[in-house]
Symmetry: C2
Subunit: 203 residues, 2 copies
C-alpha cells in the first residue's frame, strides 16, 4: 500500500501547493482579479491541472475561507487571558474589528464574499463559522451569568454582538463611511463600538 500512500501524499502536497499560491495571490493582488490562469502560472502548471484537484474556483475560495477562519480563531483565543466576562467581551469585539482592518482579504473570504457564501450554504455544516460563533456564545453566556444584559437569550445576544461588529467593519471595508474623512474612520468605528458596549453592558 506504500505506493498508494505516496500518491495520497503527493495529491495533498499538490492541493497545498495550489492553495498556498492562491492565498498569496489573493492577498497580494486585488482579490477580485485572482484568476485560475494566474494560479496556474504561479505554480508552473497548466490551467487544466488545477481542475484535477479542485472542482472549480469556488471550491478553492472555500478552502481559503477555512484557512482564514483558522487564523481568526487563533487570534480569538487571546481573550482567554481576561477573566472578567464583560472586559473579555469588550476585548473580543476589539480583536474582531482589528482583524478585519488588518486582514481585509481574509475578512472578505470569511464574511462578505458571495462565492464563499454560496459554498457555505451548499455544505450541510459550516464548521469554521460555527466554531468561532460558539466561542463567542460562551463569552456572552459568562456575561449573562454575571448579570449583564437585560435579556437571557444567549443566542440573540450573540447574534446582536456579532451583527454589530460585522456591520461596522463591513461598512468600513466597503467604503460606506465616505461621509467621514478617511483618517477619522477608524476612530469613529471604535467610538461607535464603545457606544454599543457602554449602552448594552449596563447591569
Amino acid at each position: 500500500m506504500s505506493i498508494k500512500d505516496r500518491k495520497d501524499r503527493d495529491r495533498e502536497k499538490m492541493k497545498k501547493l495550489i492553495l498556498d499560491a492562491s492565498l498569496k495571490l489573493f492577498i497580494s493582488e486585488d482579490y477580485s482579479r485572482i484568476s485560475m490562469r494566474k494560479i496556474a502560472e504561479k505554480i508552473e502548471y497548466s490551467p487544466g491541472t488545477i481542475y484535477l484537484y479542485f472542482k472549480n474556483k469556488d471550491e478553492i475560495l472555500y478552502e481559503l475561507h477555512n484557512m482564514a477562519f483558522d487564523k481568526f480563531y487563533r487570534e480569538q483565543q487571546k481573550v482567554n487571558s481576561i477573566k472578567e466576562p464583560f472586559e473579555k467581551l469588550r476585548e473580543h469585539g476589539k480583536i474582531y474589528i482589528n482583524f478585519a482592518i488588518n486582514n481585509p482579504e481574509y475578512y472578505e473570504l470569511m464574511f462578505i464574499m458571495n462565492a464563499t457564501g454560496i459554498e457555505i450554504e451548499k455544505k450541510s455544516n459550516w464548521y469554521a463559522g460555527k466554531r468561532t460563533f460558539e466561542f463567542l456564545m460562551q463569552n456572552i453566556q459568562e456575561c449573562l451569568d454575571n448579570g449583564y444584559f437585560k435579556s437571557h437569550d444567549v443566542f440573540s445576544a450573540s447574534m446582536a454582538m456579532w451583527s454589530f461588529v460585522h456591520g461596522i467593519v463591513s461598512l468600513y471595508l466597503r467604503k460606506r463611511m465616505a461621509m467621514i474623512p478617511s483618517e477619522n474612520q477608524k476612530d469613529v468605528m471604535f467610538a461607535a463600538y464603545e457606544f454599543f458596549m457602554i449602552n448594552t453592558g449596563k447591569k
Copy 2:
C-alpha cells in the same frame, strides 16, 4: 436653441432608457450576471452605444445605486407618523431590515457592492448616503433629547444603530447565518434586533 434643447432631451431619454433596462436586468437576473451586452440587447442598440452615454459599467451601477437610495428614502419617511422618538427609532430599524429582505438587489447596490463603493469614494460627496444617514441622525437626536442612551454623542450613536442593522441584514444576505435553519433566520434577525433595542434603549 430648440434643436439643442431637443438633443439634450433625447440624450436624457436615452440615459433613462439604459438605466431602466439595467435596473430591470439587475433585479430579474442574478445581479452578478448583468452585462453590457445584455443591456444593449434589451434596449436594441449595440454595446458600443452605451459608452456614448456612460463612461463605463460602474457609472451605470452608481446611478442604479442612486435610484435605490431614492426608493429607500421614501420608505424611511414613513417613520414620521410616529411621534415618540424611541418608538420611531424602533420602527426606523424595522423598515431598514425589511427593505433589505424585500429588496436584496437594491440593498446590494447601496451598501454591499464593491463597484459602487469605489465610485462613492471617487465622488467628493455621497449625497444619497448622507441624506439617509442624516435623517437617521435626526431621529437619534430626538432620542437623546428625551433621555435615551447613556452617551450624548449623536454621531457615534447613529453609526452604532446603522452598523447594527447593516450587520444583521448583510450576514443574512451573504448567507452567513448558515448555522440557523433558513426558515428561522428572519425570526433570529428580529430577535437580535429586539435585544439591541431593549438593551441600548434603557433610560
